[in-house]
Amino acid sequence: MMKANSSWFWARCGLSGTLLGMLLLGLTGCGEAPPARFRLNMVEMVSSEMSRDQQIGIANVLTAAFGTPDEPFAMAEAELDLKKLKAAAGAVASDQLGNEVGLYRRHCAHCHGISGDGAGPTAAFLNPYPRDYRQGVYKFKSTERVARPTRDDLRRVLVEGVPGTAMPSFRLLPDHQLDALIEYVIYLSMRGELEQRLVAETFDLDEGERIDQLPEVAEITKEVVAEIGEKWAQASDLVINPDADLAPPTDRSPAELAVSIAAGRELFHGERAACVKCHGTTALGDGETTDFDDWNKRLFKLSESKPDLDLAELGALPVRTIRPRNLRQGIYRGGRRPLDIYRRIHAGINGSPMPGSAKASPDAAVGLAAEEIWNLVDYVQSLPFDSLSLPPEQLVAPKRERL
């Protein structure tokens, strides 16, 4: 018995020793990619079948247009503030006066990734995954669905965080640091979008041609960056501002409110708004639970068309479904003011399956009128206080399905 005991002992000693040795070996850095490099969007590269050579071409143009993580650069067309970018970029450091640089790597990169691809080292356990900035698609904003967010929208997300997700609130950071970070997020977005556009441009080239070797590459880049910059510059013109005359007055009587809520309930469960399709008749978020957000849908489609592809090898995270929100909790990731919820219903949630409900124009045949959206806002806001009128067995939200 003693014998058996002691060999078990030595086995454990050996095992932990080996583990320790391996870890220490790992410490010295084998297999660690150098951190301060932008990674190419390999999902784009593979789906458009870019050759290695073409990828190098695209990387060269990107570096010329936007610099590196340590030395950011912005073309005049991008209308970015280089001073702010420099404070956010680079390695983490600070001076005697407390001026900090490397803000993005200090606060964001472990989740959002150095390249802003939403696949930083800690991302895999998080649900939802951190935002991939590279498409310029943002969820919680005041603008029309496909429009870019305004700087104020991004600031709201940074200050408030996104409740119920890993996205923290950075309200403890001083204003100028938030400004720098917002500028840097936009920078990464623009860079990512340029990359996608360059892939498309390269796709149209002849066999063997590289985008960085075209004589007109400078013009192309300028033009595309200007277009991308324009979208961001326009954002503040595309803010959803509902007509004040149609908004419910602040001094409504309980009876008037009840009428509006009843109308909202009708819409919520009806054919036209069809909120129940996803949020479920209970509004617990148990309707359509097998859909994807835009980022995961892209990956899902790619993995369907190329089944042998190793997504992890491309730097992508495993494909995951999105769950509609449980509306009975009264938690709103995009802000809890009636106006925020109005905008959410008006434009839907960009990047997620939640569709916009507003009429495209006041006399359009489909879509909801402003009054109807306000009714829905009232109903949504009443849900956390509304007792469920369904038998209890239907109230349990289903387990999230994962792929």
């Binding site: 983490v92 600070s94 407390g98 923290p168």
Partner: protein, 342 residues
Amino acid sequence: MSPVVAHSPALSKLSQSRWPHRLAAALLGLTFPLIWIGSLVTTTQAGMAVPDWPNTYGYNLFLYPWQTWLWGPWDLLIEHGHRLLASAVGLLTIALAVALFCLDGRRWIRWLGIVAVVGVIGQGVLGGMRVLLDDRTLAKLHGCAGPAFFALCVALWVCTSMWWTNAKRRPTTGGLERLTLITALLSYVQLVLGAQVRHIALGARPDVFQMLVVMHLALALVLLAHVTVLVVRTVHHRRDQPALVRPAMLLGVLMTVQVGLGLATWVVKYGSPAWLADWGWAAGYTVAADSMLQAMTVTAHVATGSLILAVALVLALRCWRLADWGRQAAVAGSATLLGVTT
């Protein structure tokens, strides 16, 4: 002050100087806060708040204006404070080595004192290099070497005690001694794993971090099982030895606290897991970046890790000190817990 030269197992109470033990205790008292502050440097990413080394912004470490330090930015306060405290630990280590050399007759412990001095200097240089090269790998090594040095201090403290000198050997139980050693070893492996999780390279792939976290959790379970068995066995076999029962109990408490702190660390950094989304509190919970709660929870988790290693080592050293390997204790009514015979 005549050095005690005679090395006899029955070193009498009178001839043993208490000074090495007192110095070792003081060293422990300084090193534990040093680990806290060092860990806080990482948590608040203050490592590069002072770009030069061994100077601080051109000043000699000890001459840096204290007003600028104390009323300066938080990062500077922590980083410079870490350096000052580390220097104090270094000086105290040298004092201890000298005291051992003059006052303790045991050759091996004198050597241990020298190893500690070499260790503390090496650790200081490692910290300095980490700053000069701004290198995450060195930061990780520095973070792993800290607890190892703390463990060395613990060993010096235990071996210079009166208890150690007067301990009477008793039949070994075999299993208990080995279990204590394994537990101490595993708790160090766990610290190193934790450092990997904490210092994950920004360019690393997400599945690497995922694997590290899973390993850290798995080892936490293994450690929990070991500590549980350890507590049961210690109480079972060494009930009459408060010097063993007390650290064993403390280890049990620390381990429980540590598991809680580990879970809390995840939540204050990454929020509550999505499968809790239907639970009101979790649905509305927003992580507050850089909050005091976040910094303190994470730092406490790191520091408690070192404390667990220290207590496990105390237990191991004392257990082995008592063990007379020539004689086997008659184990009456041994029981099996979690597959391990107690």
